[in-house]
């Protein structure tokens, strides 16, 4: 914009403005109250609305200087101007909040609330409210009686800024169920709902704090709904049609909280439907309301197929895609919310997935994988994962081309563990595409990367990596299995199967099951290094594992037992190791398990062991009878699980 000829005037502009700032800053420290007051006012007027100025004054050290002015003075005008200036530093500016708190002026601001001058009270209340909107606000201990008294004195105040502050403190500082309980029992709900009939800012503060107090707390919700026979629930519902978008948003978010906590209060389909449509409309708001609406929507429809359907029928997918395609820089929170909403829509409904994929969204989604905000990358991966549940689109090769695969595989290196877990989820689904050779993935070092991640510090990452590998090994050819095994080796498998986390063990065993499935050569893997892997499996099974793990373990044995005579004998060794001091017949326990899959898997193993076609079958049959296995089978002729019955019959 500026031309080169004027550039010299800009450098002087920059330095002269710098000089001006330094000048007003020095006047802040003046001992003359008139000069000081004027300087305070000047700083305040310069920084309000102007983030750049806030930053530059911050760097000069203005905050401590203003804090001293506040602390050292009793003159009302100085108090008002300095409090207002501090409040502005804290308004939506994290570095400012930090500086104000570091200056130790928080207690002084609290004392302003007891001033006799209304303007001083207002200024103090506003600044404190700005501080409490930040994550860095001091923790408010609701469990201390004097703190509760103070809080209620705020809520009871006639001054709108002060009661708003009370609500704000609750909205941002109340975190635990215990705190919610304590607040409810002290009667906070009754106080808050009065604010619903108040001014705009009181209503908004009330809605925010209600959402915080009611979140995930069914008792609190029922208390709220019980107030004056549901009058306030109706009020909040009415507010979703308010003229101010922020009010509509906050009331929607409040209802989302109530719905997620106690859905029974929302039997009326109409309310659910209008909640969905209102949030969809709010998505178009360009400001902060739109950002929060997106996250609110994803929270509302999460795991709820009926609401996902409602949203789909209300054209949600097209609306969201249109917003994403506008090309303007969207706030990361909004992007995250929009992608999560799309992901939820695609989580169960095939129509949604097809609709979404038909809208040429893949490019946009791929770009999001490269966004500098980790939450956005995570949300995009989850979106991929759910969209890839569409078998039709998956087998059409939509996801397995380089354009998509490369950025996904690159995310396996992502510094954020939540991104890693999310991309593993996506890849797990994508590698299930049987029609493609999946060589791109392997070419990009995918297997190596997955193995790396299976050793991650984060158990979720380990679990997800193994799940992806498990899917990759499903019906895989020998070449791929060899490649994979050569990277892991026996010891690697032993670590996986002995992982401290049961879920990781389960995935490890499932992976092993797929590895040894198929041709007889695959079974040899478990015999590597003198049967190290097989021994480990046997040991784990003997340790009374959880059902899910046991199922996978038994399927491993099933597959091994489907092999040669040697294989079958090895399995018998694992089942009945000698010498055995006390009887630890886990087979029997499994046959009596509540889990039908476990019974089924165990029966399969037995079938493979005693199948008449192999020479040692008879001996094994005898041994099994001795251990009480065969009699147990006879009892299971009428097993509730059809699967088991059929196997048994054979």
């Amino acid at each position: 914009m500026p031309t080169t000829t004027s550039s010299s005037s800009f450098s002087s502009a920059a330095s002269s403005s710098g000089n001006r700032q330094a000048d007003v800053f020095s006047r802040l420290a003046s001992s003359d109250p008139e000069v000081k007051l004027k300087a305070l006012r000047e700083v305040k007027n310069q920084i309000i609305g102007n983030r750049t100025k806030k930053l530059s004054f911050l760097k000069l050290g203005a905050v401590p200087a203003i804090a001293s002015a506040l602390s050292d003075s009793e003159c009302n005008s100085i108090l008002v101007q300095s409090a207002a200036a501090l409040g502005s530093f804290a308004c939506g500016f994290e570095a400012g909040v930090q500086a104000v708190l570091d200056a130790g002026v928080f207690p002084r601001l609290l004392r302003l609330l007891t001033s006799s001058d209304e303007k001083v009270v207002d200024a103090g209340a506003r600044s404190l409210r700005m501080i409490f909107q930040s994550n860095q606000a001091p923790k408010y201990d609701f469990l201390q009686e004097k703190n509760m008294e103070f809080l209620f004195s705020l809520l009871n105040s006639e001054n709108e800024n002060v009661s708003g502050l009370g609500a704000s403190i609750i909205a941002h500082a109340c975190g635990t169920t215990v705190e919610q309980q304590v607040l409810c029992e002290a009667g906070v709900l009754e106080k808050l709902v009065i604010l619903l009939d108040g001014s705009l800012s009181q209503r908004e503060a009330c809605l925010e704090s209600l959402a915080t107090v009611l979140k995930n707390n069914p008792e609190a919700v029922s208390r709220f709904v019980g107030l004056e026979a549901g009058r306030y629930l109706s009020s909040v519902t009415e507010l979703t049609k308010d003229r101010y978008p922020r009010t509509r948003l906050l009331s929607c978010l409040c209802l989302v909280v109530i719905y997620n906590t106690s859905p029974s209060y929302f039997l009326n389909m109409g309310t659910k439907s209008s909640l969905v449509t209102t949030l969809l409309e709010l998505l178009n708001d360009p400001g902060q309301s739109g950002d929060e609406a997106a996250l609110g929507l994803s929270s509302l429809i999460a795991e709820k197929e009926d609401l996902q359907k409602l949203a789909y029928e209300a054209n949600a997918i097209k609306n969201i895609v249109d917003i994403l395609k506008t090309g303007s820089e969207l706030h990361p929170k909004r992007l995250q919310g929009l992608f999560l909403s799309l992901a939820e829509l695609c989580s169960k409904l095939e129509d949604c997935r097809c609709s979404f994929l038909s809208l040429e969204m893949l490019d946009l989604l791929v770009n999001a994988l490269r966004h500098n905000n980790a939450d956005v990358r995570t949300a995009a991966c989850i979106c991929f994962r759910n969209a890839a549940r569409s078998v039709k689109n998956l087998s059409a090769g939509r996801f397995t081309n380089d354009h998509v695969m490369l950025p996904l595989v690159q995310l396996l290196h992502d510094p954020s563990s939540s991104v890693q877990v999310a991309v593993l989820g996506a890849l797990s689904n994508i590698v299930l595409d049987f029609s493609s050779p999946k060589s791109t993935f392997i070419e990009y070092g995918g297997i190596k990367q997955l193995i790396e991640l299976s050793k991650s510090m984060d158990p979720n990452a380990r679990c997800s990596a193994l799940r992806a590998l498990r899917n990759l090994m499903f019906l895989a050819d020998n070449k791929r299995k060899e490649l994979f095994y050569s990277e892991v080796k026996a010891q690697g498998f032993v670590s996986l199967i002995s992982d401290p986390e049961p879920t990781v063990q389960e995935q490890g065993l499932a992976l092993l099951r797929n590895l040894v499935d198929g041709c007889i050569n695959s079974i040899e893997f478990v015999f590597d290094e003198e049967g190290l892997i097989l021994d480990t499996v046997g040991r784990q099974l003997r340790k009374s594992p959880q059902a899910q793990m046991a199922i996978q373990g038994m399927y491993v044995l099933t597959n091994v037992a489907s092999g040669t005579e040697l294989h079958k004998e090895a399995v018998m060794q694992q089942l009945f190791p000698q010498p055995q001091a006390e009887s630890n017949n886990f087979m029997l326990k499994f046959l009596q398990s509540h889990e039908s899959q476990l019974r089924s898997a165990t029966v399969w193993t037995i079938i493979n062991l005693i199948s008449p076609s192999s020479p040692g079958a008879l001996d094994r049959h005898v041994k099994l009878r001795e251990e009480g296995i065969i009699p147990q089978l006879k009892n299971m002729v009428n097993d509730s699980c059809l699967d088991v019955k059929v196997h048994k019959r054979s």
Partner: protein
């Protein structure tokens, strides 16, 4: 029997065939209107609402004394708000900003669009006064960062700075910015923001009522012929055309 009926209906139709709408004479109309009951209080409230929202403090105060109607907000706050509005209308934007911040420092801190428009107006005033170098400095220091933060602001900023490019700005494509109406637009924006922050509705009720009247007349035109109010300022009933 039915044939007979048809004839009768046809007779009626002949009368209305020219218009096929119900005709209401002025006499009938005025009679209907007189039957509608209005409360004096409601009208007073409407008037007070208008005076207060538009910011006519003295008139509102006098009206309160003479009619006993209570203003819905504290008249003192109106004075403050009017001072801001007037400052903008007179081109004293910096002064207006200071006053807004005294009234409520949150307004400009939480309304980036309004803040930008006020700064933009300041730039326009500097350009209008011919203070070119100061204007450029101001644009660089105060407005350029806003443009960086927001794409839409950048476009408006570029339009404004374009005023400096033209020798005769008042005949350039961007001359609207120099127009007094732009000041009024900014003043109105600030007025609305202050009213909202005071939880007062930013629009008076009276215009809405009048709009409703015009709409209702348009709707009724499809079904009937009746005396219209064509001049809102006088409210005179005009006979329906023959």
């Amino acid at each position: 029997m039915s044939l007979f009926r048809i004839f009768i209906n046809q007779d009626d139709d002949d009368d209305d065939m020219a218009t096929s709408k119900k005709v209401i004479t002025r006499e009938e109309w005025e009679k209907k209107l007189n039957a509608v009951k209005l409360r004096k209080q409601d009208m007073n409230t409407l008037v007070m609402n208008f005076l207060v929202t538009e910011g006519y403090v003295d008139a509102a105060a006098k009206f309160q004394r003479e009619s006993g109607t209570k203003p819905e907000i504290d008249l003192a706050t109106i004075t403050d708000r009017m001072a801001v509005k007037k400052a903008v209308q007179n081109g004293h934007v910096e002064d207006a900003i200071e006053k807004v911040n005294d009234l409520n420092p949150e307004i400009l801190d939480t309304n980036p669009e309004l803040f930008f428009h006020l700064q933009q107006q300041r730039l326009i005033e500097l350009i209008r006064q011919g203070k070119t170098e100061e204007a450029l400095e101001f644009a660089q220091e105060e407005l350029a960062p806003r443009g960086e933060e927001n794409q839409a602001f950048l476009q408006e900023l570029e339009k404004t700075v374009a005023l400096l490019v033209f020798e005769d700005a008042s005949n350039s494509p961007v001359k609207d910015l120099l127009d007094i109406s732009h000041r009024l637009k900014t003043a109105s924006e600030v007025n609305a923001a202050i009213l909202t922050s005071q939880s007062h509705e930013k629009d008076p009720k009276l215009p809405s009522l009048l709009k409703m009247l015009i709409w209702a007349q348009n709707q009724l035109d499809e079904k009937a012929v009746y005396p219209h109010i064509n001049d809102l300022s006088t409210g005179q009933l005009q006979d329906p055309p023959e």
